[in-house]
């Protein structure tokens, strides 16, 4: 089977990961039973609970792959995968720590100085401080290299002016950091990727204003963040000045490869099973078969990426391919589920299942936008195929 363009190695969970899964399931069952959380669709992007995140931190389920000296737990990528997929499948409120745990912490670990790592990472791993993404701007979406937030050299650091948008969770309690992609040198039309840098901005610093933005469902989970002469010390530069582009590409690979790309609405399917099990017709059987077939395949591919990460590879194109397919599946899941659900669910606005179905429908347009639109991802795929 050597002609395949993309490789997704088979992954088998080691005993430690299987043991961990049992622990996580027991924890989630207990939390749900005791009212510690209420399941929700798209929980990783809309279920903010600092308390819940701290509980995970206490159990060693945040910063799992980081070194112990920075508060991490030196566990494998597969063990981290187990924790994240269990949280998603249960619809647990994991938004508060999601960005720090998935990408910002790892990005700091790779590229920040000793002082910053020692100060920030242990607190992130305990669930005491959170992060926001600082990539998009009002005039910068898919064309990320067009960012115009500027950082000027001042004594001891930089002064930042500009604005970032769609920064999920930036307004949340305990969200202290944003890794912002900024211009540290004027744009050169010929070499657009030069002169960009990643800076860690303290969101509680003077000159930072965070304003929540309502989404189509009336939820406020993302923001506009305004920087007016915000001072950032030298030590908060990631990597080298002007070399931020390659760093942000690496950060995006972390962002794209996880199970949240196909499990955001799984909780709705799980809850719907209670209703669908009563007198199922052939159409219901068929829908369930199609959905589970796809989930199984996407999970295998997504885990293959975790396997490649564990091998020390950087599977950016594979991650783009899986994210493209997975996010389209998220729409399909809720649309197919809808047509087999009875009126009592679709026309009701109370109760757990009707709420989950509505949340999923209202959240799904963002699936194929966030973390790189599917059009951008397809561009990455065809570049690998030699067509660009």
């Amino acid at each position: 089977m050597s002609t395949s363009r993309f490789r997704f190695p088979r992954v088998t969970m080691p005993p430690a990961a299987r043991q961990l899964r049992e622990e996580v399931r027991a924890f989630l069952a207990e939390e749900r039973a005791s009212g510690g959380y209420t399941p929700m669709a798209d929980c990783w992007a809309s279920g903010f609970s600092a308390d819940f995140s701290r509980k995970l931190g206490q159990r060693g389920w945040l910063g799992m792959t980081w070194p112990k000296e920075y508060g991490g737990h030196e566990r494998s990528f597969l063990e981290r995968y187990v924790v994240t997929e269990e949280m998603l499948a249960a619809g647990a409120p994991v938004m508060a720590h999601w960005i720090a745990d998935r990408q910002s912490g790892t990005q700091m670990l790779r590229h920040a100085g000793e002082e910053v790592k020692a100060a920030a990472l242990p607190r992130m791993a305990r669930g005491e401080t959170f992060c926001a993404i600082g990539m998009s701007e009002p005039n910068t979406g898919s064309d990320l290299a067009s960012v115009s937030t500027r950082a000027e050299r001042v004594e001891g650091g930089w002064k930042i002016n500009g604005r970032k948008i769609w920064s999920t969770g930036a307004h949340g309690e305990g969200c202290d950091y944003m890794i912002a992609l900024v211009r540290t040198a004027p744009a050169d039309a010929k070499e657009r990727h030069k002169g960009l840098s990643q800076l860690i901005v303290n969101l509680k610093a003077a000159g930072v204003t965070v304003r929540g933005i309502e989404d189509i469902g009336g939820q406020v989970h993302f923001n506009e963040t305004l920087f007016e002469d915000v001072f950032v010390p030298d030590s908060h530069l990631l990597g080298e000045e002007g070399k931020g582009w390659s760093l942000v590409v690496g950060e995006l690979a972390l962002e794209r490869s996880g199970p949240e790309r196909f499990l955001s609405s799984f909780i709705a399917l799980r809850e719907a099973m209670h209703v669908l099990s009563e007198n199922p017709d052939d159409r219901t059987r068929e829908v369930l078969g199609h959905l589970v077939a796809q989930i199984k395949t996407l999970r295998r591919m997504s885990l293959g990426i975790a396997g490649l990460l564990q091998e020390g590879r950087s599977p950016e194109t594979e991650a783009a391919l899986v994210k493209d397919m997975a996010t389209r599946f998220e729409r399909e899941l809720i649309e197919q589920l809808r047509v087999v659900l009875p009126d009592e669910v679709l026309l009701d606005s109370s109760g757990v299942l009707p709420r989950l179905v509505r949340e999923a429908i209202l959240r799904v347009p963002s699936s194929t936008l966030r973390g790189g639109t599917n059009e951008v991802l397809k561009g990455m795929i065809v570049r690998q195929l030699g067509l660009r």
Binding site: M1, F8, H274, R285, E286, K296, R300, M325, E375, V382
Partner: protein, 352 residues
């Protein structure tokens, strides 16, 4: 995969590249038996990949056979290697010696009475080219595998969408050449193995169709540039690449599950196969649509090689149960799991 797989797969790939050429495949469709190709397959023992050593085979890992079948699909192989492997697998499971020559299998639950076999089957692949037609027969609730001489059967010739022989076969009171009980087996298991074989072959065929599409999009110039430079074309091809990658992943999952139980179709293998055949329905609809759109009128001609792969994918999605049938079967299993076991069953595959 075992150590031997590379040797077997390399041999297969070399034979297919040399002897399953565009001309040979087209000639086979016109009724010319590719004798040199089949002879090379028999001389290398590829047709015995799934036959245990005790039954005269090479006793290779089941997974190796699936790798060979994917390569066969990728080459549009116009001989019944897959059917011979499936027949050999059935005979070997019953402890029967597997004879040489091309074989095929007629699906269904047929009748055995006083040592004589009767039944009918539609669309038996390559029946006219097979020395023996292998069937499952039942007498007093017990299942047997039997092999019938082709000459003892009545054939009505037909063909698949790919132009391969799909013959209707009837047999009435035929004394089988071989017969043995088949314990721990159900008629559905034959469908499952057949379905997985077709998924695997189609994964190979669609990989080739994708490669041809990428190549053509890079060469064909319109409006002053290769059509592969147009975003509309690029995005179709990206979707196609996703379908092919997903189908390959599903095929591998099925092959691993079957290999893990040494060919016994247990509940886990059933689920993997159901998921894979369901996936094939989608991939074999969406993939060829892109391949033909990219190739334009050129790829719609018989002269172009593309049809050897797209037509096979279309034929294979219908055999051994469509995606509708397999999705319902999988849905039944999922309903049996219920809300509490849905997620644990999905993760179980990696946690064994």
């Amino acid at each position: 995969m075992s150590e031997t797989d590379n040797v077997i797969l390399d041999t297969a790939t070399r034979i297919f590249a040399d002897l399953s050429t565009q001309e040979v495949v087209n000639a086979a469709e016109k009724g010319e038996w590719p004798a040199a190709l089949w002879q090379a397959i028999e001389e290398s023992g590829l047709h015995l990949t799934w036959v245990p050593e005790a039954s005269g085979g090479v006793g290779a890992d089941l997974f190796d056979g699936f790798a060979v079948l994917k390569a066969a699909g990728a080459a549009g192989l116009p001989v019944p290697l897959a059917e011979t492997l499936l027949a050999g697998w059935l005979l070997g499971r019953a402890g029967l010696e597997v004879p040489s020559g091309p074989l095929t299998v007629a699906r269904g639950r047929h009748q055995l009475a006083a040592g004589l076999v009767s039944g009918t089957a539609l669309a038996v692949p390559h029946a006219r080219n097979a020395e023996l037609i292998v069937v499952l027969v039942e007498e007093n609730g017990a299942l047997y595998v039997a092999a019938l001489a082709r000459g003892d059967c009545t054939l009505r010739e037909g063909q698949s969408l790919a132009g391969e022989p799909w013959d209707a076969v009837a047999f009435s009171g035929v004394r089988p050449v071989l017969r043995a009980p088949l314990p721990d087996f159900e008629v559905d298991h034959l469908d499952a193995m057949g379905a997985l074989i077709r998924v695997t072959q189609a994964a190979g065929a669609l990989e080739t169709a994708l490669e041809l599409s990428i190549q053509y999009a890079g060469e064909r110039v319109q409006f002053g540039r290769p059509i592969g430079k147009f975003q509309a074309v690029q995005h179709m091809i990206a979707d196609f690449a996703g379908e092919v990658a997903a189908l390959s992943a599903a095929a591998s999952a099925g092959a691993e599950a079957v290999a893990a139980t040494d060919g016994h179709i247990d509940a886990d293998a059933w689920v993997e196969i159901a998921a894979a055949k369901t996936r094939l329905g989608r991939a074999a609809s969406n993939g060829p649509a892109v391949a033909h759109q990219v190739h334009g009128a050129m790829g719609f001609t018989y002269e172009h090689r593309l049809h050897q792969f797209t037509r096979r994918a279309w034929a294979w999605r219908d055999e051994f149960g469509t995606e509708t049938r397999w999705a319902r079967r999988l849905g039944d299993v999922v309903l049996g799991w219920g809300p509490e076991q849905l997620w644990p069953q999905i993760t179980a595959v990696t946690d064994k």
